[in-house]
């Protein structure tokens, strides 16, 4: 039985209803909120600030440090132990690598830009929401970057290529693949590409094409969030 209709009734290339807002945390230098369906990500950016421990300082450029955290009852399953885990460390690392591609901190040697992403509610696609939110927050903080990074997950559920999988789809009882993709806007360079599951070569290419369109939708949303912050208040 092939996957002919999506569980939540979306079209195969349709993303979940999304929402984005910039400047939601007053104490941070830059911040953002991204909602994709039931997944909610808050990103806060601090810095550039002094980097300790000192051996991590790079005299040639500033560095980016990411923190990713799912809140204890954010998932639909068991309570998640707060704090660092193998999974959160990995996601923080891929976020760092994905965002670093476009950030230019050459004017801030030895310094660090800290990005904290917390997720009060999750329903798959957290690292994508985290990257999209972090990108807005970085722009909001005035960090020099060459381009925005937009991220969306694509994949295959029982032979059908779909965009922005929900948790129910990831857990579908068939062959499923989940491919988080992050792309720049102008050049469509891929800065994040991971995969869980299996997919055929043809479908992978189809999925990446779908990601190109999907990230463009996310980009429009990111742009709107940033520009809305500076629309006239009266």
């Amino acid at each position: 039985m092939a996957y002919t209709e999506r569980i939540d009734g979306r079209k195969f290339d349709e993303l979940r209803p999304m929402e984005a807002k910039a400047g939601v945390i007053p104490n941070a230098d830059g911040s953002a909120l991204v909602k994709a369906g039931k997944t909610t990500a808050y990103a806060a950016v601090y810095g550039p600030r002094e980097l300790f421990p000192r051996f991590k300082q790079n005299p040639k450029t500033g560095i980016v440090r990411c923190h990713y955290g799912m809140m204890p009852f954010s998932g639909s399953g068991e309570r998640i132990r707060p704090g660092n885990s193998r999974r959160s460390q990995e996601i923080a690392m891929v976020m760092e690598k994905s965002l670093n591609a476009m950030i230019d901190l050459s004017a801030f040697p030895n310094a660090v830009v800290d990005i904290y992403v917390d997720l009060p509610q999750t329903d798959a696609g957290t690292r994508c929401a985290a990257i999209s939110a972090a990108s807005i927050a970085l722009a909001d903080a005035g960090i020099p970057m060459k381009d925005m990074i937009s991220s969306v997950a694509v994949g295959e559920v029982d032979g059908t290529v779909v965009a922005d999988l929900s948790y129910d789809e990831e857990a579908y009882d068939a062959i499923v693949s989940d491919i988080p993709v992050a792309m720049t806007h102008n050049t469509k360079e891929i800065t994040l590409l991971q995969m869980d599951g299996e997919i055929s070569k043809e479908n992978l290419m189809k999925a990446l094409e779908m990601a190109k369109v999907g990230t463009e939708t996310v980009y429009e949303l990111q742009m709107k969030a940033l520009k809305d912050k500076f629309s006239r208040s009266d």
């Binding site: 002094e50 722009a139 005035g142 020099p144 970057m145 102008n186 990111q222 500076f230 208040s233």
Partner: protein, 228 residues
Amino acid sequence: MSNILKNEREVVIPGEALAEGMDYLPGDNTYREGDKIFSKVLGLVGVAGRVMKITPLSGPYLPTTGDKIIAKVFDITMSGWRFKTNTAYSAMMNVKDASSRFIKRDEDLSKILAIGDYAVVTITKVTSQNLIDLTMKEPGLHQVSGGRLVKINSQKVPRIIGKQGSMISLIKDKTGCNITVGQNGIVWIKGDSDKELLAEKAVKMIEARSHEEGLTSKMEKFLTGGAQ
């Protein structure tokens, strides 16, 4: 064919194309790739002749020689003081730059500036690694005493000051407070306590609405309405 793709004073985000064609040049906070010029930060578009530039709406303070800043002493060394500058970098002030009077070799430096004190100082030198040298020997530079300190985004400092200081002198006139604005985004307000509060509100309001036009007249209304 060269043309500008954005209007002047339009808000752009990083990576947005500003102009195409080789007739335009990339200025502050922009870069060229191929025949297009792109923005590097979130800010307002500016066109100065053939140069495209972006005025950032937010962002960190970049220490620059000649800037007057307000900094905090956090360490005292053999040869001077170390200051926190509200950036990722600390600054150094040598004993000889602290005062025009002679400071003896065995004098207690904490009698002049103690740890935790703030001072209005000028940046005399910045290296490529952002090591900063300060001086307190120029006129108008002194220790901060009394009043209150307000932190704002350093990119909003020009708006707080206004054209030829119009905004800052408006606030000074209406509140009767002494106000010193550090380029690093620290504002020192000293006056009657209720007037200090009003001045602080005014500064915060300018920070929040800095991208709007006609702000000086709006401020005038706010200060005359709120002063009574």
